[in-house]
Symmetry: C2
Subunit: 138 residues, 2 copies
DNA sequence: CGTTGTCAACGAAAAGTTTCGTATGTTTTC
DNA sequence: GAAAACATACGAAACTTTTCGTTGACAACG
């Protein structure tokens, strides 16, 4: 019936929670078979093998992963970068709970778990400096 | 101390997307009736009145909102603060897509939309200073 | 061989979320 | 007071996401 216009498989949509779990594995391990993903995820998650398979198939349909079918056991690779996904989720979060203010988010993130190391703090300062310089020059 | 053992309806769980939409309205407007929430949300969202009502009832069950039933039209209030919710989502995001590194998130957030004003940047620097001082003193 | 193990592909159940129709009771209006 | 307007509550449909059972193919092993 409804031949679903374009949105479904076109570009990469926002990953669901489970999809994200799998993307994490692919980002960490690199290209992997279903079995490898399943075994990596099994420690925490109790999902069955076919669940992971199905998820990867769905993700393939959505364009979130690409796969190499050369071998019998297909090899999956993330089609969206971690950074791109971070950006997407970040933008979403800022819009949805930080009232559009990303600096609010930064303050909150820094204020909470003071888990930032010295090096990281320095990195952040450097970025701030760079932003200032840029602002002055324009 | 903490007598809350039962997770389901006891404490505030992570709000769903629609629930978040409603919480935003309550945070912005303060305590509101179903009708008020519905009208505020109607501009963008096409949800019907009873949909909003149902959502608020569910949220009430989950402890995300409290309500005053003194009047015929019950008045709902957010039971979780914006800040607390920000914290929760932030922690989730850091864990799920930033590999546990909140400074990674900060860098990404600052690096992207340079929508931070001068005042905000200064605020961020001040917080960094405070963190440094604290670190030295401990 | 034939038995056993591994794999992709479905389909569909199960679980979670969102939406609304309907019932029912209470105010407000004429 | 009867009609209209407005309120809560509920049940269940409509969607979405997650999970798994089953099937058929193929390879590895004995």
């Amino acid at each position: 019936m409804n031949a679903r216009i374009i949105p479904p498989s076109t570009s990469s949509s926002r990953p669901t929670e489970s999809e994200l779990d799998i993307l994490r594995v692919l980002w960490d391990r690199g290209a992997s078979t279903v079995r490898e993903v399943h075994e990596t995820l099994y420690a925490d998650d109790g999902a069955g093998y076919t669940t992971v398979l199905k998820l990867l198939q769905i993700m393939h349909g959505k364009g979130l992963v690409v796969r190499d079918e050369a071998q019998r056991a297909h090899v999956y690779r993330a089609a969206v970068s971690r950074q791109r996904t971070q950006k997407r989720f970040l933008a979403d979060l800022v819009a949805r709970v930080f009232d559009g203010s990303s600096s609010q988010l930064v303050l909150q993130a820094l204020g909470e778990g003071p888990r930032a190391s010295k090096a990281e703090l320095r990195q952040i300062r450097e970025l701030l400096d760079r932003i200032d310089t840029q602002a002055k020059r324009s």
